[in-house]
């Protein structure tokens, strides 16, 4: 038994709810160090994901994630579009046609998502980007996967992502628009790391 397509659809649905609920908060985070469109972009992007899921109900978790990738890249508009799009595309590709995902496959898919973000955005840990949420999440997921419990993997990933997002606050941005602010970017949480943590929390919520 593992996670199936119903989990994937629930994950994406909860992600869309989280983006709608935290829209204003993400906008405010982004106003401090970016161009204040992150909340709006993510909300619109995930609403488009819900539309696509309704139009073309996917048959496997991998298919659900690929469909999400396409919708996000087409509708988000900002830099988050291609970054999250690549993350979901790589994760979906890693899952392949499998109907069920086990703990090891899940941890590998999260790793592929993170690698996609790094490849596309060229950011490293400590640059004050979404990578600072994803890398600890991937490491925690890999450690938790040894026990074979998918829910434990997702909870470990969500907690590590949340801690990683909080830890971006004192950092000086070295990538993305916030990097133009230099030292003034310190003292604010990175909006991309914040939305990443919300998405990974939704993944755990969907499996609970």
């Amino acid at each position: 038994m593992g996670l199936d397509v119903n989990w994937a659809v629930k994950w994406l649905t909860l992600s869309a709810q989280a983006m709608a609920e935290h829209r204003v908060w993400l906008i405010e985070l982004d106003r401090a160090i970016g161009d204040s469109d992150h909340g709006e972009n993510m909300d619109r992007g995930f609403q488009a994901v819900l539309d696509k899921l309704a139009e073309n109900p996917p048959e496997t978790p991998g298919a659900a994630l690929k469909l999400t990738a396409m919708a996000l890249m087409s509708k988000v508009g900002g830099a988050a579009g291609p970054l999250y799009g690549t993350a979901f595309l790589r994760a979906g590709t890693a899952l392949g046609d499998a109907a069920y995902i086990d703990a090891a496959g899940l941890a590998a898919a999260l790793g592929a998502a993170r690698d996609g973000i790094v490849a596309r955005g060229k950011a490293e840990s400590g640059d004050k980007t979404m990578v600072d949420a994803w890398t600890p999440a991937v490491e925690a997921a890999a450690a938790a996967a040894a026990d074979g419990d998918t829910l434990a993997v997702l909870i470990a990933a969500a907690e590590a992502a949340e801690a990683g997002a909080v830890a971006t606050e004192p950092l000086v941005a070295r990538k993305g628009r916030a990097s133009y602010l230099g030292e003034r970017s310190a003292g604010h949480r990175d909006p991309g790391a914040a939305s990443s943590a919300l998405i990974l929390r939704a993944a755990a919520g969907a499996a609970a």
């Binding site: 990738a69 890249m73 087409s74 509708k75 988000v76 508009g77 579009g81 291609p82 595309l89």
Partner: protein, 251 residues
């Protein structure tokens, strides 16, 4: 059939306008703008970029020009989604100057790699220095002002220690068209030279750089001193000679 070009910008107006501008100098090159989001906002859209790539497929390859960071990411992601779209190259170049140079190179029949090089040769100008200025200025205090402007008929090598080796081919050509070296002639020279396997300077600036050539401010009656090295050196000098002598097809 030429190489085709896709222009990805955050702004539909920028993409459309850049294509409109470049089309004046390259009427036979298919250029497909992919600017803004699908609902007309500022941003980039994977859908738009992918349909532009589809439209541009089937030629001699595609070169993609992009503006700000996420346009580059969207273009890369589109290539990843397209899974083996054939010869599609992303050019790292300023969107307007790069597009014009790429379009002119494509119009001249350059290969997809040469079109990409033509676009990228416009990068960073005028921040980078003319090619041989460093050598010249480090060789004692050569005549005040720009030592890079080797005047008239003297050959660069052999006379000054520290200068680069004698070029494989040189030539001096007087501009005969009324408007002199403006955008279109510069694009023609740069586009053609970028497609050749030769290092070429024109009055000391990179001959494959459209913006570099324009900074020469050479008017009618000015003499262009061309130095070329490499396998295509003779062809490069002959190419410039042909364009200059026919006044770039202008009055």
């Amino acid at each position: 059939m030429t190489v085709r070009i896709v222009v990805v910008s955050h702004s539909q107006k920028i993409a459309d306008g850049a294509v409109e501008l470049a089309a004046q100098m390259a009427p036979d090159v298919m250029m497909v703008p992919a600017g803004g989001t699908s609902d007309g906002r500022i941003g980039t859209s994977l859908e738009k970029v992918m349909s532009a790539l589809e439209l541009a497929a089937g030629g001699e390859g595609v070169v993609v020009l992009t503006d700000l960071g996420s346009a580059v990411m969207t273009a890369e992601a589109a290539l990843e989604f397209a899974e083996g779209p054939g010869a599609v190259l992303l050019a790292d170049a300023p969107i307007v100057e790069g597009l014009v140079a790429a379009a002119v190179a494509a119009q001249g029949g350059a290969s997809v790699h040469a079109v990409k090089r033509a676009a990228e040769a416009t990068h960073g100008y005028p921040a980078s220095r003319p090619k041989d200025e460093e050598h010249v200025s480090s060789a004692a205090h050569v005549a005040a002002g720009s030592g890079a402007r080797s005047g008239g008929t003297t050959r660069a090598g052999g006379q000054q220690p520290g200068l680069p080796a004698v070029p494989d081919a040189t030539g001096d050509f007087e501009l005969v068209n009324l408007a002199g070296m403006h955008a279109r002639p510069a694009a023609k020279i740069a586009g053609g030279l970028a497609a050749l396997d030769a290092e070429v300077t024109v009055n000391g600036v990179d001959g494959a750089s459209m913006t570099g050539l324009m900074t020469l401010g050479a008017g009618k009656g000015s003499v262009l001193h061309v130095e070329a090295s490499g396998p295509d050196a003779e062809r490069a000098v002959a190419y410039v000679a042909g364009l200059v002598q026919e006044g770039f097809g202008e009055p």
